[in-house]
């Protein structure tokens, strides 16, 4: 069957079979292998994407269900030629080792910070507990989330003259 969807802001279409997952369509048909295929059972979060702004495992969404909807993958997070602040933070803090879980964790972090710009440590741990990482032990991933939250607070402080959030995020970091 033919589906039409918006991926990373672009109108795309694909010819999919009934059992095809959105993950397969993204990776093998639309040339977007950034979303990873680590378990294909919704257990590891490596294939996390945003479907109409909501965090989902692309392996558990049928391609057909995405017909007419909007998908954002790790490849579509940053503005034109620039990394998203969450991507920058993962690179700088050492949150990346083998990096296989990284795209999913970055998408999950973007979703978290969208909902809670200044999450507590417990909120971060709970929000990311659906994304498995085998290399890092998560410590540097938590650093990355705090760094990205602080960067986001700075940006919004510039826009809205609200400097409080950045200070709190840094404090969370110190207490951890």
């Amino acid at each position: 069957m033919k589906i039409d969807l918006t991926v990373n802001g672009e109108k795309r279409d694909a010819d999919v079979w009934a059992g095809e997952s959105l993950l397969y369509t993204l990776r093998e048909q639309l040339g977007l292998p950034g979303s990873k295929n680590a378990c294909e059972q919704g257990e590891c979060g490596s294939c996390s994407v945003l479907l109409d702004g909501k965090l989902v495992c692309a392996c558990l969404v049928l391609a057909a269900q995405a017909d007419g909807h909007e998908v954002v993958t790790v490849e579509g997070l940053g503005e034109e030629g620039e990394l998203h602040r969450v991507q920058e933070a993962f690179a700088e803090t050492g949150a990346v080792q083998c990096g296989f879980c990284t795209p999913g964790l970055i998408v999950a972090t973007v979703a978290l910070l969208e909902e809670k710009p200044d999450p507590t440590d417990d909120e971060v741990r709970e929000a990311l507990s659906g994304n498995l990482c085998r290399c890092t032990g998560y410590a540097k991933i938590f650093d990355a989330v705090r760094t990205a939250a602080a960067a986001g607070a700075e940006t919004s402080a510039g826009a809205e003259t609200d400097a409080g959030a950045g200070g709190e995020a840094a404090e969370n970091g110190a207490s951890y």
């Binding site: 292998p33 950034g34 990873k36 059972q41 990096g99 990311l128 991933i141 938590f142």
Partner: protein, 756 residues
Amino acid sequence: MSTPTPETAQAPARKLEIGRVGESARRVDAIPKVAGEFAYASDLFAAEMLWGHTVRSPHAHALIRAIDTSKALGMPGVHAVLTHEDVPGAKRYGLEFQDQPVLAFERVRYYGEPVAIVAAEHPEQARRAAEAVHVEYEELDPITDPATAPDREAIHPEAWTQGHGYRDDPRPNVVRSIVIRHGDPDAQGDVSVEGTYELGIQDQAFLGPESGLAVPDGEGGVDIYVATQWLHVDRDQVAPCLGLTPNRVRIHLAGVGGAFGGREDLSMQIHGAMLALHTNRPVKFVYNREESFVGHIHRHPARIWMEHRGNRDGKLVAVHAKILLDGGAYASSSTAVTSNAASFACGPYAVPNAHIEAECMYTNNPPCGAMRGFGSVQSCFAHEAQMDKLADALGIGRIDFRERNALGPGDVLPTGQIVTGSFPVADVIKRCAEIPIPEPEELPRDPIRLPGGAGNTTRGEGVRRGVGFAVGFKNICYSEGFDDFCAARVRLFADADGELVAEVYSAAAEVGQGVVNVMAQVARTELDIENVVVAPHSTDAVASAGSSSASRQTWMTAGAVQLACQEVRSELARRGGKLELGDEIDAERVYRHARTFPLDPDTGQVVGGDKAHVAFACSAMRVVAEVDVELGLTRVVWIGTAQDVGRAINPQAVYGQIEGGTAQGLGLALMEEIQTKDGLITNASFTDYLIPTALDMPPVVSELVEDPEPDAPYGAKGVGEPPTVVSTAAIVAALRAGTGRDLTRVPVRPDEIVGL
């Protein structure tokens, strides 16, 4: 000869932005990895590519009566179905012993063993065709108990591992047996304690499944793009099975999604190449998670008995140990794991007298081989429980007792090797003990910070706190006379602006540990230039770098890149310190560490020289845990650790290795176990095989103890394994303190905490 290159086979050559030796540097590959642009083995694509799939044995032990591929061959999109009859060269391969069939013939020896391979246009067609391959089996009684395996019929009548200089042990199914006799094992102490300890099968559970792409070169040779740990030894195993000379098989490193030992053995390499050469089309394999669990070797499960004797003056007198490892159906690296388990059975302590026996058996259980910690994890779990028991029996503080007996330079190991160089065991103990422990957190509190977590199982009524301490150590580099070396090549040229640029070539497998940064940071330091590019890793461009395992790759690659850079620097000086556009200097150099020697097969003593192991690294860890003694649930609250790292080349990466290695030890302590029934794996998924999540990991406070190793380039030791060796032992010590129970088996189950 032109080789078709897959469109995304390698990440583009990368320019380092920051970092010299000793500086925390951003990973060379961080940007493509966070952007989703880094090409892992499962992301590869080539025009006209077919998809491979493996037909696997549903039995742990069976005779193969017949294989009928006709139905599968007639299915839509199917281009090939191959069996053992189609293997062009040697029918068997193996990392150390060629005991494993490329595709099973006559019999299958473990659940999931490859029997046939399929190539089709679409992965779903390949899967369905694989299901349609009919294999007629005659089931045999599987051997699943390593303790009685020597009383059973031989799984491998050829006894592949015998006659290689190991102890002569004619019993069937013995992979290797070792006896180490040191001093006077009959020496008695004031006090003696004993215990029996067990460890389940742990899986590496790397997130990137086994994957690769084989591309025929049109002239009978093949290029294989694969996630692996040692390109050249893959090539040397693949080529004979394809009936090709090694130069016609080129192995290129594709992006590796974690390894931890699980990619030392081959997975799809020969299968992909066979299908590619047969169909003359590129063939890609991507294992699914279930296949990944059955498709690679695991950490050896173990049963360990130990007796420790000590005196009231606080000194260890003697250690007796019997270690039984289950090697599963094929040898893999079991002989070396067995040796490690025996060599490090006493822990990093000065033990004047010892009698250690270790043996590993062939069974029809899942094959076991290398996993981070490699034999030391198993022994450390046992010897640290014993050290606590003996300290208690002697009425001496547990940390104090360890410090009093800490090994150091000049002390003798049970194998007769005298410790030389850097080995600061007492320092790591002291430094770890000085890290302040957090105060108990008051109740009530958010359930997410209680055992049971978001399950909201308790308000804390049955929660007890315990603190545990452990020390562990492991060898760095290959041992026992292995002829180890590492090559690197550096090419220096001037770019269009007249700036010097160095390209570093190495076949070292970047598996996530950051060896690409070691290469770049060493080259920048040695050449004192900014522009360093790490070239793609391939058997085509440079000689072997050896394996990314045994905590050896940082040491060895740093040595090789340093030597190549020194040669380039000298040549540059001869040319007046300048290169014109079009000029270049190209140097390849080989680094070797100090020679090691084998163990005497009957006494376990080093023979022919002074050392069996190149160097050692140690680590101490303190753990605060909470246990719900009514519900059997646990929560690790806090971990503090001090690790002997020699010298940190990239401190940020070293901390990352310690945190990640600790997490894998936590997994073995609390949740990770491959479960089998009659040899069949029953939990091959992330639903049923649990690994630590963000909610399971506590904060880890790490102290780097930098006592540079005099023999190592920059003094740097490998850092990946010690945290995994020590953390299982330290965590269970904390659970024992919290529950007051023995907890002799890992992973610790809720019923054991409750005492059911």
